[in-house]
Amino acid sequence: MTWLQRPVRAAFDIAELGLDRVFSQHWNPLHHLGALGFFMYWIVAASGIYLYIFFDTGITAAYSSVEYMTNDQWYLAGVMRSLHRYASDAMVLFMVIHMAREFGLDRYRGVRWFTWSTGVPIIVLLFVCGITGYWLVWDQLAQFVAVRSTEWLDWLPIFGTPTAANFLTPESLDDRFFSLMIFIHIAAPLILLLILWIHLQRVSRPQINPPRGLAVGMFAMMLALSLVMPATSHAPADLSTVVSVVRLDWYYLGLYPLMDYWSAGTVWAALTVVLLTVMFLPWMPPMRRAATARVYLDHCNGCVRCVDDCPFGAVSMVPRTDGAKFAEEALVDPDLCVSCGICVGACPSSTPFRRRGEIVTGIDLPDFSLADLRAATEAAAEALDGEGRVLVFGCAHGPRPSKKGGTTAFVTLPCIGMLPPSFIDYTLSRGLADGVMLSGCAEDACYHRFGAEWTDARVDRQRDPQLRRRVPRERVRRHWAGRAEGKALSAEIERFADGLRQLGPAASDPLPPSSERILETVESDG
């Protein structure tokens, strides 16, 4: 699948770079596609409730009640109708882009399979909502949808008699069938909400609301669109004619023309194959997974920080099993762990201030342990040379500086959230570099969801473990940006190095405290 992923990813890299500039990283719509989907859902739900007040559920009266809303009460019910339609369309649009982004950025495989695969019923239900919605207007588009849909459904051997025959003559038209459509149109969105909830079961602290500024902008856009291009109906349904030209809503009804070219069976087969393929995409091929986080009870005091910080709810607290004086211990569920290391960065036992060979922490990544991180830090520092030496701790998914060597060295982590703040202290107090740069994905676009956010909070002393006060803040710089921003990162490093040259070399701490003392200071420091 990488052949398909690469161009998708490249397109998102460029689009996100552009929109970061226009919107700021925090408001970038591409960073909030799922949340925007939810936002549209609420608009659809609220406007739908209003429409239902004026909607006449009799099959022939339905049309005139919609006409009343559109023409006589255009200023409120008409606007609600347009909002209802356009927000539903936007939901499809945002959903498709959301899927493409998760796919392109490789956030759909491995542990994330659950979130991805539960997206497939969401697609199906969303379409059921939209199609039954168009049915209710009972205009010529509704007639087209009714005839085509029932002809298509009749292919399945579930109905004894062709249901499409209901739409041949006005007399054969069944009021009960229409009531069924209304029922489905109300039930399907509720089931959709339930599946959305399931969709987010394995995402901890899911972001379901867009940032205020983006929400205001999107709502204003929807309102403007509704006023400029109010949603209207076709002519009333007339069963004695064949509908010949329809102004299709391509978001929901875009596949209907296929039925004019393919048989119902072929359309069923194609749809089934496509949906099953999407559903099982996480295993085509499966992700090569790194070893998951492991708990070392000797160093776990049951502080719950790893539970709080894990982006996928993979750690939980369980009663102590080793007889230590603490009530609880951390336990990792390997089926949920993405090996991001954020828990390592959260653990108070994660400190480099220990003698070589002894560095063990409460929770660690077997494939890239805290000891490996310290070794990598020291090796990178060794290569640094000259004045204004910058050690960059960077995330594997964020931008890469275009220039390395000389005064810049790079340590790559699975996620910047893996870096315990004590490493910044260690690097500067030992004089390993003159400044530390932290680099990772753009704000709200972290591959592991919370890397940049937790790092910011730790450095700003708003979240444990906090960066010690003694660390000179002018020697610490942060840079969050999309993957395509390698040049900008290099420029930022250059500026940082210039500033460091003015400051002079970092003062080397002559007496590094022992690990025990550090642990105490970390705790009393907060």
Binding site: M229, R247, L248
Partner: protein, 168 residues
């Protein structure tokens, strides 16, 4: 200046997004049915007669059946297929045998199919056989219609209405 550019950029983004959402919500229009055509739609849900051929059960067979279920004759429940033909202007455009539905072949046969024809005057003849005979038909009907473009002519078979019904 940078801020002005940002706000302008956002306005442009929203305008383009609104245009994309609004445009594809009702455009481009799609022609589903040719402008100069009319449609004949033929449909029925009708069971052919039972195949029959009952057989008297032997005394031994009867002995093996629960007393309340004992019937002297063993009658198969399956029905004969329904054979239909449709002629438009003297040419046969459809001829088929529709098998009964249901696991045991005891349900009604179904048909639902459209036949586009050029708008204008047409003679439409239909025939249906629902008995076991080899040739000939049990029901026939013919009519002459002037069909406007886009008009639907429904040809329905309803046994309870006495046979074929044409609805313009």
């Amino acid at each position: 200046m940078a801020n002005l550019l940002k706000w302008t950029g956002q306005a442009v983004f929203y305008a383009v997004l609104a245009a994309v959402i609004g445009y594809f919500a009702a455009a481009p229009a799609y022609r589903h049915f040719a402008a100069d055509q009319a449609l004949i739609k033929m449909t029925f849900t009708h069971g052919g007669e039972y195949k029959g051929g009952c057989r008297r059960r032997t005394a031994k067979e009867l002995q093996e059946i629960a007393p309340n279920m004992r019937k002297d004759f063993d009658c198969p429940r399956d029905r004969v297929p329904v054979v239909v033909e449709l002629d438009v202007d003297g040419a046969t455009v459809y001829r088929a045998s529709h098998d009964p539905s249901g696991l045991h072949g005891d349900g009604p046969a179904n048909m639902y199919q459209g036949f586009p024809v050029p708008a204008g005057e047409h003679t439409v003849a239909v025939r249906l056989r629902d008995t076991a005979r080899d040739s000939g038909f049990d029901y026939t009907r013919e009519g002459r219609f002037t069909l406007a473009p886009g008009q639907l002519l429904v040809v329905q078979f309803r046994a309870e209405a006495g046979g074929f019904i044409f609805r313009e």
